[in-house]
Subunit: 151 residues, 4 copies
């Protein structure tokens, strides 16, 4: 994958502002830990109230982190007035999401005028080791000039 240039110099504040409006991110305790043109990382400390029946972080939370990282990776390359929507994604859960924290990294694979394709990977950090727990491909849509949906 190549590096990308942002068309909007304020891409980082635009991403951070939109992220701050996602109430779900506050609810699950996720935070934006990297914002680059075409690449975003979101981190989450382990919390017992986000688990599935075996005590691992629920696949739905893992997906939420990866989807959001992919969405903002795409959003970082969009025009200032564009809104971002997830069209679809596919995720494989590779290993149980256990450990002290999770880091989801979204990277743009192909940036298009309307659609952007991203790759997302989620890692669990445990006792100083980093293990890949999920991998995603996501299709993200740019909706230009929709002021009601900005961000």
């Amino acid at each position: 994958m190549k590096d990308f240039a942002a068309q909007d110099e304020n891409y980082e504040s635009r991403v951070r502002e939109s992220f701050s409006k996602q109430n779900l991110m506050k609810t699950i305790g996720a935070s934006l830990t990297k914002v680059l043109p075409g690449e975003v990382e979101i981190s989450l400390g382990f919390r017992d109230d986000l688990t599935q029946q075996h005590g691992f972080i629920h696949a739905g939370v893992v997906s939420t982190l990866a989807d959001t990282a992919c969405g903002y990776a795409a959003f970082s390359l969009m025009a200032p007035d564009a809104a971002v929507l997830t069209v679809e994604y596919k995720i494989n859960l590779l290993s149980p999401a256990v450990g002290e924290s999770l880091v989801a990294r979204g990277k743009v694979t192909k940036s298009g005028r309307t659609l952007t394709v991203c790759a997302g990977d989620v890692f669990a950090l445990k006792n100083g080791e980093k293990k890949m727990v999920a991998t995603m491909i996501a299709t993200i849509m740019s909706i230009p000039g929709r002021e009601g949906l900005m961000g």
Copy 2:
């Protein structure tokens, strides 16, 4: 899709018990509203703390509901000592998830010894109307005799 018969007559209590151990379901306020052999529904009332930046229910929550409904639809057909894990899923978000509540329905498409394939659909209920907001295909794995992971 055809109807399925459960091999475990206690399938419903087994599903309900496992669901009750998913802390994330309590955290987001989701409840099991239908449990049949090969078909499960999960419902969620709209909550402002589960939204994305435009005020819709976050795609991650929509996916969580559909994934969980698919997982338990598969689990309902499994042997009593099997554990259930999501291998992967793919979801398309069709319309904004807005309204009074969401209902996710998971149905088994093909039940195999190791792998079960399910179809998941999520509907939003708003002013008495029901609108499809997402569609999923999920691959679910049965892990037999793993007592540590039962449920």
Copy 3:
């Protein structure tokens, strides 16, 4: 899934003309066996030169049929001057593709201005029985007014 109305009364001839330009369909011997607004079926007789290592029809051929059926199901609802492109799809192979013939059915789940989401199912016909061998979700894009790509 609901029924759809075609905005172009010549949708069937438009689908058939575009299909006839797909050289791959001739190469593998596939034919259009149903064209309705939002629903298309493609059939293929078993051929030994389309198999994988175990003598089943190759998953790639099964996918090709389902993808093409989904693409034309979407195309049947598009404006007369639109070109159709597959954005992405996901397919689960449920059973070996064996028998006298395969039938792939693509149906529109959600028709949008730019993107259309379709469900594809592939069935094998063997000794008078019909068995589902694959299931797909596909995202199809309409590209309006691109004369160079019409069809």
Copy 4:
């Protein structure tokens, strides 16, 4: 992604022998151009009889190459008596598949006892330039000791 070690020292001949039994590969003119533990490349020269309606290589052929490369990447790490089956895959088509030839590369992301997850990328070579035209995630299954299905 890390490097993998093959458990079967004859992995390459096993992959090549199975590939040679895929009649579809002969029919479309594809050849195995790299076989490493956990990584396989398949190449295809442009052919007019493999196109869709705009003259590009059909998405179904692009998918076939990527699926097959992923399947054999997984197969290279399996035990000598295992059969390989594709459970499912998801592919995004990024750019038109045009040029002199296509190269599909499948790499193992996670190798498990029963399931292996692979990443597939397809590139078009045109006038000395290499362009990514598709990206895939595939889930591949190992079926041990099924002599009737060996390879």
